[in-house]
């Protein structure tokens, strides 16, 4: 009898727990739904009085501003007191003009996705947040992101469109939900090798290929990877103690060697190098393009050109270059890149573009890597949207957030660029975010004069985008929320074999066998299901979009002109 009662009690407790759990989650989703529902008809029309900002949900004035929590990622350590001072200065500007009081919420890159996810589910105060593109589908599914389409017809929405362009402004859409805007940056991923300048000079490599310091702007000149083989050979002969090429198992070099439109997660891709206009989703790891690339790596590995511990190494290229026994590493290159490279590797470097010009591709993945959106936790998403708009259109806001207070954290030089104030530099600055490529419109901030950049650097960077060939699926965002189990299994399968393949560690003899194993594992994990679903969504999107996205004529002209010149 006693035991029975105990069992009944146990069961009751568990059921009770379940009910409480359901009740809670139902409650929160309900309330957030209603809050986004009421704002969907919001319009800012007919409000001429500048001293009051009216939304569907409230009225805000200078005395009663909207309190907005702005989450962002800090890549460099900032001084707490300086950050607070900047926040105050920003509010001094924001409150009279926008009736918004901003609260900074700096997060760490390693944790921000997890932290924000917890904050969304916990209902914490949070308005504007960074969204990593592969989180988008799950955050939308958990009802964590406000659909911004409802605000796109407002003046603020129009302003964002003007800045980003129609295509880029809507690239962060999934199933008709506009979840975020990409940062204004160079999205083309052209790349190649970063090599030590002293060794290149010594071996005549600089002379042979006309390399110069700080020459990193793309001019259409791109070398075949077989040229790299010759360079590695020279280096290996002259300096047998040196590693010609540093790679690392956890960081895939594949984008440098072959370009696919990864369609967000690499499981089902468009094979650009085989057929640039194809809209057929294929398995990346069965393509000849992929096989050629990993075979090339395996040849280098067998010849001793690749760092022997590449498979397991975690130190990163900067550390290895600093240590002095590495000749080169692979990376994306853009104007101004070599100054950054020197800062991180501690040595002068040359850059060479390798691969094919088609690799400079515009895909949804490239452009919308980091987006800025609104959390459903926001008490008034319309105000949050106004703030996002300010990030893209108001230079004052962007400069304050990025560079701090003028003459306290930075000074403007005569040529229109900016630099740290006297007595501060890269090693001891108090406030300098330098993350305009992550959120907002960096083209609205001062160009940071680190030695190589002048005031029209942003033009150069923007011009870098002119080399882009557009993926036919540009603008398509794959919604993987229903396939998260498969994606996890696929990711695990890929992580098992990829590091060995993409560092060449399997050797030429092992490529075929390892590829086979990888593909078997992928299909066992449900690759076909995911690819079919992706193809279906893509076909539907193509129908709605009125066909594949085409590369703008101006870009084609740029590319053709460069081909002729070279």
């Amino acid at each position: 009898m006693k035991r029975k009662m105990l069992a009944a009690f146990l069961a009751a407790t568990m059921v009770g727990g379940l009910l409480v759990g359901c009740g809670n989650s139902g409650d929160t989703s309900g309330s957030s739904k209603s809050s986004s529902g009421t704002t969907s008809t919001a319009s800012a029309s007919g409000e001429a009085d500048a001293s009051v900002t009216k939304t569907e949900l409230g009225e805000y004035t200078e005395e009663n501003p909207y309190h907005l929590v702005f989450a962002f990622v800090e890549f460099y350590e900032q001084d707490d007191a300086a950050r607070t001072a900047v926040q105050d200065a920003l509010n001094e500007y924001m409150i009279p003009k926008y009736h918004i009081e901003v609260e900074f919420l700096p997060l760490q890159y390693a944790e921000y996705q997890q932290t924000i996810q917890l904050m969304i589910s916990g209902g914490d105060e949070l308005d504007v947040m960074p969204i990593y593109y592969s989180n988008a589908s799950s955050w939308i599914a958990m009802n964590g992101i406000v659909d911004m389409n409802q605000y796109m017809d407002t003046p603020e929405g129009q302003a964002i469109k003007d800045v980003l362009g129609e295509a880029n402004a809507t690239v962060g859409s999934m199933n008709g939900i506009l979840f975020g805007f990409p940062a204004q940056k160079e999205s083309v991923e052209l790349g190649g090798l970063t090599m030590r300048a002293d060794i290149c000079d010594e071996l005549g490599i600089a002379e042979e290929y006309g390399l110069e310091l700080n020459q990193d702007e793309y001019t259409g000149k791109v070398y075949d990877w077989s040229v790299a083989t010759e360079i590695f050979k020279k280096v290996k002969e002259a300096h047998p103690e040196m590693t010609p090429l540093y790679l690392q198992g956890s960081a895939s070099p594949m984008r440098r060697l072959a370009f696919f439109d990864e369609l967000a997660d690499q499981f089902g891709v468009l094979d650009w190098e085989a057929d640039h206009d194809s809209t057929t989703v294929v398995n990346e790891f069965e393509t000849d393009t992929y096989k050629e690339a990993v075979t090339q790596l395996a040849e280098w590995f067998d010849a001793g050109y690749i760092y022997p511990d590449a498979l397991t190494d975690t130190q990163g290229s900067a550390v290895m270059m600093k240590a002095g026994n590495t000749f080169s590493y692979m990376s994306a290159i853009k104007p101004g890149y070599l100054v950054e490279a020197k800062a991180s590797t501690g040595t002068d470097c040359y850059a060479m573009y390798f691969g094919q010009d088609v690799e400079g591709g515009y895909s949804t993945t490239n452009v919308s890597f980091y987006d800025t959106g609104i959390a459903t936790n926001s008490a008034d998403p319309e105000m949050a949207f106004k703030f996002i708009s300010a990030l893209y259109t108001d230079p004052e806001v962007m400069n304050l957030w990025q560079n701090g207070i003028q003459d306290v954290n930075y000074k403007v030089l005569d040529d229109g660029t900016a630099y740290y104030v006297d007595g501060e530099d890269a090693s001891n600055f108090k406030y300098h975010q330098n993350t305009g490529w992550f959120m907002g419109n960096q083209f609205n901030t001062y160009v940071w004069n680190d030695g190589s950049k002048d005031a029209n650097y942003w033009d150069k960077l923007q011009h870098h985008n002119d080399w882009a060939q557009y993926s036919p699926a540009y603008g398509f965002m794959w919604d993987s929320s229903e396939y998260s189990t498969q994606i996890t299994a696929l990711q695990n399968a890929l992580n098992t074999y990829r590091p060995a393949l993409e560092t060449g560690s399997v050797g030429v003899a092992g490529v075929e066998e390892t590829l086979q194993k990888l593909n078997d594992a992928l299909y066992a994990a449900g690759l076909q299901t995911v690819m079919d679903a992706k193809q279906e969504q893509l076909d539907k999107w193509l129908d709605e979009n009125g066909g594949a996205t085409e590369t703008p004529q101006s870009n084609l002209d740029t590319i053709a002109a460069a081909k002729e010149a070279n």
Binding site: F9, Y76, S121, G316, A332, E340
Partner: protein
Amino acid sequence: MKEKPFSKYQILANAVMIIWTLAIILPFILLFMSSITDENTLVANGYSFFPKKFSLASYSYIIKSGGQILKAYGVSIGVTVVGTLLNVLLSALMAYPLSVKNLPGRNVMMFFVFFTMLFNGGIVPSYIMWTGTFHIKDTIFAQLLPNFLLSAWNVMMIRTYFTTSIPDGLYEAAEIDGASQFTIFWKIVLPLGKPILVTMGTFAGLAYWNDWTNGLYYIVKNTGLYNVQNLLNQMVQNIQFLTQSSNSNVTAAASTIPATGIQMAIAFVAILPIMLIFPSFQKYYAKGIALGAVKG
């Protein structure tokens, strides 16, 4: 009777234990040696027990950069001391009544304690409770309260020890002499239960010292409340994420994180107090575990 100086069994047993001990100690020595190795030597030649070039640069960096690391150290020590004391006190206060055999409703209470050993709410509900109801986010309580304040397992261990190791006769004698329940608890139960209390205290202390999850979940804005483990975890995670990214902007940021030697130095500094304190509790430790386990 004289024993044989070395039986085969003894040699074998000693050999196994020596290897076992080395396997535990050597990584610590390597950690320490790499923390005093010159940074460039470390990267060029890898970790070594006998580095070619020594350097105390990492430790001087920790002392100079002071602020955050020392602060985190303070948080770690404070939280561990306060948390351990609270943990032991609360566990004992919970365990003693449960060890009294004629306590009304004892089984129901036991069930409530036992239930939490098997089931818990999971991360998201816990997060909502701690931040929404108790508002501990970004306060020092975030390091102190969740997960470690009271553990059902500790309570069960202590209760078992009380019931089995303290004879009922002692309670009766005390009651006859006119002692109240609190007097019995302070004067008899706590002194006699010292071995198990110290043991459980060590467990709790270790758990507090090694914890980084509370800081990760509940400390977002006020990073001045990070403990040493949070700092270390953040550094390691950042390095992992930043070096893996193919984005050139991210790679540029990666070069600003502290070098390998400094990570090693912080890791060493982080385990130092535990290594110093642990031996002094050892005698209770062995006794407490054995008693608790065998008779439980």
